[in-house]
């Protein structure tokens, strides 16, 4: 397998005067409480994970869980106190200032919760900004920015100022700006949290559409579990700086690793999250009907089809080979049945 795009090894971020000394003394066993008594606050506690090319990792956690801090360590907006971070094999923490700027100019894009647009520049100028910083000619950068304006559907508003746009439109500008340099790695820090629910859903769909087209490597931060389920290839759930569980949405819903994670999964409508392949059984010798469902369908979409059958239904992969089976009872059990580890 090719090298992961982002690779974190035991990353710590501790705020406070003697953070580094205390981390050394703790010897890899960081207890938030003892640190706090000594005037240090633990932001990220021993985070290790990898993100491979084209994958979307969603980091989910409530406010103060350290998810934004983790993202800032990986974009090196703040320096991690301990551990190692590799971006495409480069040791991020050992880059000098110039190399770091180069990396950001060419490989990274970031979207912010409060949009963080430059108030004195128009939509177009905001989007062209990273290009101009790189030293690209005004005319070229403006043309490129115009393409981006079209990509995010803001044509006709390119000469507006940020203050003249709605929140959703402003975030489209933020997204366009982060994509202007065609980065490989895309960081999104709660990009839709400041938006109204309807706009948020619209932006999520739009975001999925973009990702389908662009296939970036993404780290997406959110405090909204539903959003995480909807978007993620894998989800990392954080609490007090520690990654409680890192897994696919289905596995998190089906097998929550800790009590904390389980609380999130309780209210989740499983039929909307789980795919057939997540719950299907082995190929059985029972006689199966003529109905077949794809293993990549969401349960909700095919539930009616399966439930109206009396027989077991065959599950196929993309090439129409039968890879498993599923019967109505299984569906009913998954959706309404006892949840694992429940009470």
């Amino acid at each position: 397998m090719s090298e992961p795009v982002i690779k974190c090894q035991s990353v710590y971020k501790i705020f406070g005067a003697n953070a580094e000394r205390m981390l050394k003394e703790a010897n890899g066993n960081v207890d938030a409480k003892t640190f706090q008594e000594n005037g240090c606050i633990v932001g990220v506690n021993n985070a290790s994970f990898e993100v491979s090319k084209g994958e979307m990792l969603v980091v989910m956690g409530l406010s103060g869980s350290g998810k934004s801090t983790l993202l800032r360590c990986i974009s090196r907006l703040t320096d991690a106190t301990g551990g190692k971070i590799f971006i495409e094999g480069q040791d991020l923490l050992n880059l000098n200032n110039k190399e770091l700027i180069d990396l950001r100019r060419n490989k990274m894009g970031m979207v912010f919760q409060s949009f963080a647009l430059l108030p004195h520049k128009t939509v177009l100028e905001n989007i062209a900004f990273p290009l101009q910083i790189k030293g690209i000619k005004t005319e070229d950068s403006i043309n490129k920015a115009m393409d981006m304006v079209k990509l995010v559907g803001l044509d006709g508003r390119e000469n507006y100022f940020p203050r003249e746009l709605s929140g959703g439109q402003q975030q489209r500008v933020g997204i366009a700006r982060s994509l202007a340099v065609e980065p490989d790695i895309w960081f999104l820090d709660e990009p839709f949290s400041a938006l109204d629910p309807l706009i948020r859903k619209e932006m999520q769909d739009e975001f999925l559409r973009l990702q389908e087209k662009l296939q970036k490597t993404i780290m997406f931060i959110t405090h909204d579990f539903d959003e995480a389920l909807k978007l993620a290839d894998r989800i990392a759930i954080m609490k007090d700086g520690i990654i409680e569980q890192l897994d696919t949405p289905a596995n998190i819903v089906l097998n929550p690793a800790t009590e904390y994670v389980r609380k999130f999964t309780e209210e989740v409508p499983r039929e909307k999250v789980l795919l057939i392949k997540d719950v299907m059984d082995e190929i059985t010798s029972d006689n199966m009907g003529d109905i077949k469902v794809s293993k990549d369908e969401i349960i909700e979409n095919v539930a009616q089809k399966i439930l109206t059958q009396e027989k077991t239904v065959a599950v196929t992969d993309g090439k129409n080979n039968i890879v498993g089976s599923i019967n109505p009872a299984k569906i009913i059990n998954t959706v309404f049945g006892e949840r694992k580890n429940n009470h």
Binding site: I101, N106, Q113, A116, L118, V181
Partner: protein, 717 residues
Amino acid sequence: MELLKKYPKLFQWLFLLAVFFALCFAIDVPETYKFIRGQAEFVKDPNQSAFVFLGKEVRYYAFDVFWRLPPLLGWLPIWINDSLFFLMNDWMPMEFWNEDTQEYKTRPLVLQITRNLTAFMTFLIELIREILLGGLETIVAFTSWDWIDANPWAELPGLPWTIVAAGSAILAYKLGGKGLALYALLSMTYISIFGQWKPSMQTLSFILVAAPLSFIFGLGLGVAAYKSKRVEKALYPILLVMQTMPQYAVLVPALVLFGVGDHAAVIITMIVAVPPMILLTLLGLRAVPPEVIEAGRMSGCSNWQLMSKVLIPTARRDILIGVNQVIMVCFSMAVISAFIGAKGLGFNLLLALNQLNIGLALEAGLCISLIAILLDKMSLAWANKQVDYFGNLNFFQRNKNSLFFGVIVIVGILLAYFGSIYFKDGYNYLFEVPHNKGISTADFWNKGVDWIFDTFFVYIKAFNTWLIVDVLQPMRALYLRMPAVATLVLVVGAGYLIGGVRSALVVCGLTLFIALSPWWDRALVTTYMATFGVLVSCTIGFTVGTLCFQNKHSTNFMLNVCDIFQTFPSFVYLIPVMMLFGITDTSVLIAVIVYATIPATRYTIEGLRSVPAGLHDAATMSGVTKFQRLFKIEFPLAFPHMMLGLNQTIVFALFMVIIGAFIGTEDLGQYILKALSDKKGAGIGLTLGICVAFIGLIFDNLIRTWVGQRKKHLGID
């Protein structure tokens, strides 16, 4: 007891006042006490006591220490003066190459530095001045007097006024559109045909050097303070004192260091104009949201790009207010520095005021104000300018302004040429309308003043007499009747009640400095005048502000009026009051009131505006009347902001009181003015300035502390 528990603060204040008055009544006025002239003036008198400190003899009239503290700091001005002298004349003599005599010469280091600095400033001013008006100093600076004698054609001829006027209109059009262009054209034409061209251009050349330099230094130091805590800590006390230091007071030491003339004026202007620029830059940079900075970093900005393309533009609003302040201070100083020999409108204004030629003063004042407003609006328009990327323009369209200017230059030169033929014998009016040879409305104004004086003399005099005899004199007497100890107790007690021990110590230190200086009595007079001015200004300002706030249009109108009035140099305010009230305390006080009402009004409106709209609706839904809403909701919430207005009002009032010395007052300002013409005045002027600054800082500290607590209490910030 119940009451006491319910309002503990109120009783503490009452107790403080009781102690204060008890002290006032317990300590009698000493029989030998007169309003002190002698304690401060360095005359010899057998009744004086004396002490020697640091080799300086201080003589003073001794009183009971409870009544007046002895001037233990009396040596300070003398010491400052001597140190300055030593620095300038004897410290670190070094060999320096002299261009003119082509040999090495021994000169003290500081003298050499200041001389080089002034030479540089002079060069800049002369350069602009000679482009506008013509001359040969700049050419000489590059060549020599002999060369210019041999080549008289090289003398700069200066631009005809038509070109400058049209040029400024084109620039204004490019920056701000038609309205601004029209304004520029009209005001420039006005200046020319009213015969104020030469002094106006002299003033303009001074401003065009002082304002950009102040801006650059202010911005640079502001950025440095933003980046380094240490720089900020080092700058902070200086900034604080400079904010309340009257501009007059800086003149005197600068006179010693830099001599007399426009160059000294530029340096002083920078000293006064840079601090507010630093403060506002710092304020603006601090307010940039952290995510915007992160966005800049993630866009791959280097540190320099981050500062110049992200931070400074985002902080633009505050920085622009700084620019506005710089321009205001520059114009204000353009007048004041006429005292130290700066040429231009300010000089004419002072001369006219001295001769009581109100008409002339009015014309000069109007010209200053016109240019001030023009530059202010142009700098604002420049900062807000937008680029059009998609206008598909051809060469002519893109360069139409420059082309047009080229045409103007040719036309202007032709006009001037025809003028030289047409006005063969007299002045070439198409080149430059000479000073006082244009249309003058001075006579009209003077006649108007005379008429007003003749017609309303009785009423004005009656009002004047009433104000002085029945209000001002008693008030002044009351202030002077305060024993020093009582004042100290009152101020320190107030500090303690408002801000605890820390505040008490700060105000105690500031008050002690004034009390131990030789000018306590004078300081009391300054305070009394400022108090009177502030009381009236606040009453007017708060009332007008509140009334205007009831309607959106009147609100905007009033804010605009404040803007324009604020752009007038402070000295201009003296003209109309002298017109009406002649040379009396009343004139000064009315100028103070007019000037200080501006911030009072502005902050009242802004305070009321800052009340959240949600609260308005909530109040309306609870069925309050307009008055209830005003008194129960808007006033309490707007009050902290209004108190900041009070703070500004005090500073403005103090400035004007000091400037009022020009008309004639018996306070600190009079001595500052005196120190200007005194060879050994530097130390005195500086110490006096610090005294005035400290009066301002005492109030500043108390008000800010109170506002900070109040805001915390109300949960607004």
